[in-house]
């Protein structure tokens, strides 16, 4: 089982959601985050004073998938979230050792 953590543009959430739905991945957790990569942010001006908005609003989508679905899921996310411009985001994959369903209290098979 793998945790796929993707940081994407906020306006791409629906597309990514639909793309994951299509390949049968049902569960996901979405967080509003702020950050940047190489894209440094931009300058705003408030009452004549410039300041830097370095932490840009992004959305973090976390999905836990079986190993067999991993490549499909990552591909789906990347294709849906991509625009080709700086600021598209990143995808990180980490292994999940165990997974539990709270409603039933069961430990899930990986």
């Amino acid at each position: 089982m793998k945790l796929i953590k993707s940081i994407i543009r906020p306006n791409k959430v629906d597309e990514v959601k639909d793309a994951l739905d299509k390949i049968g991945i049902a569960g996901m957790t979405v967080t509003e985050v702020r950050g940047h990569g190489k894209q440094k942010g931009h300058t705003a001006i408030y009452r004549g004073k410039e300041y830097n908005i370095g932490l840009l609003p992004k959305m973090q989508i976390e999905v836990v998938v079986a190993d067999s679905l991993l490549d499909q899921a990552v591909t789906a996310i990347v294709i849906a979230a991509k625009t080709g411009e700086i600021g598209d985001g990143r995808v990180f994959v980490t292994p999940v050792e165990r997974s539990y369903k709270i409603r039933t209290g069961e430990r899930e098979a990986i």
């Binding site: 543009r9 306006n11 629906d14 702020r34 440094k40 942010g41 931009h42 300058t43 705003a44 001006i45 408030y46 410039e50 300041y51 830097n52 908005i53 370095g54 932490l55 609003p57 411009e85």
Partner: protein, 560 residues
Amino acid sequence: MRDYYRTRVSRTGPFTAWALLVVIFLCGLAPALRAQQADPAGIALGDKSNAVDAGGTPFVVPEPTDKADPDYATKKKAFDDYQAQAAKEPLAVKLADTVGHVRIATNFGWTLNTGYLVLFMQAGFALLTCGLVRKKNAAHLMMLNFAAYVFAFLAYYVCGYAFQFGAVAINAAPAGLGGTPTLNSFLIGSGQWGFLGGKGFFLSGPGYDAGSNVLTLFQVVFMETAGYIIVGSICERINFWGFLLCELFVGALLYPIFGCWVWGGGWMSQLGSTMGMGHGYVDFAGSSVVHAVGGFCAMALAVVLGPRLGKYDANGKPRAFPAHNIVFVVTGTFILLFGWMGFNPGSTLAATDFRIGVVAINTNLAAVAGAATAIVLWYFMFGKPDISMGCNGMLAGLVAITAPCAFVGPNASVIIGVIAGVIVCLGVLFNERVLKVDDPCGAVSVHGYCGWFGAVALGIFADGTYGAGWNGVGATTYLGKAGQGVTGLLRGDTSQFLMQLGGATLCAVYAFAFTFVVFKIVNAIRPLRVSKEAELEGLDVPEFGMLAYPESGDEVSAAV
């Protein structure tokens, strides 16, 4: 680093605007130089000539001049009696001067204060529209509403008021305010076929007058209403300079021209006496003059701009962009309702016109009927009442009653409100699903469709209990009855109904076509829409360099 604040500023837009202003200034200068005697401090305003009794009979009896008049003998005797009595009781005549002065003062206070209520509606509309859009555009919406007031007002000051009311004293003098006698010349047309007023440019010369300024205040806030209606349909994708051009257009040309035809003594108001069409085209407080003009202008701009990115998917199915703050939406609606207590009753321009209570009640009845209908209808259609549609329903009722409010009774008001509630609900769905016109706040349905309906409803439901002598028709008798006022189809006046139908439709066509042609051309020269990146990010930072709700990240960046 993308630096939106320092994007290259276009020189052509502002240059054209300034060139236009210079031309208009020169147009206005000539008449202003030949200024008539205006009365800026109201020193000579308000005397026995303004003293009128409850029945509308003036204190001062005029001398009859037409010897061929069949009633000449009676009128001459009345005049002679008055002269004799005036000579015998000079103190009574002086008292009449005071009464006349107080009457004007009462109406000044009334008109100005109701005008201030309408001004407050700006805040209501700003909250309403801001709440209905996405969070990333909140500052953009607020700025559009704010700038709308600012720039449309300036356009109206330059030439809008003069175009609309420069000739009002000829056919539509506001008696309650002293008649504004200095505004007495058409720029285009004359007599009962006036098309554009020609006095009072830059609110100077004949426009710098006590009575005229009261009228100006009241009328400019009505123009502002038409000006901010367009915000509801063009938001979330129009750039700021394009928006300013829209506001200047509305304030200087679109609104005043039609406003002249209906309220400034222009040709549409005179069709009753010139062509026997009922009392001419009637619109008490502006369902068509204000709301339909704004609504159909909004529609034309929405068509020119195109829908928001992502609003329609690949199959043409609409996507929902939920309101980010329903609290603002409801609060804004209540403020608009409150302001409408100035919008409708204030349109008598006189507290001495005792119909004002009826107008206030009719307005509220239509408002609540519209809201109730929208809430219940939506419940049956979609399983839950929609708060934003309920608010739109209330506004629809208000818009629809705005024309007929002085001429109908309570039951007709409720019916008008109910029909408006149905129209707005179906209109929103129709625009979104069939016409595919993206209207974020429902402005086209609320103001365009219901505004048209309101003007037509007047022609159906007017009951003749008010408005005798409206637009100079039927002062003594109308439809065979003495004191019969503006009447609709249901009480036997077909010509009024046809006049309303034709006039309202002309209003819609005029507003849409004029706006569409002008802005299709403007858009071809330089696009009115922001860039794709700016639209996806939200216009707050790209257009204005600031967020409506700066998140904790920004505070941290700016803190040190």
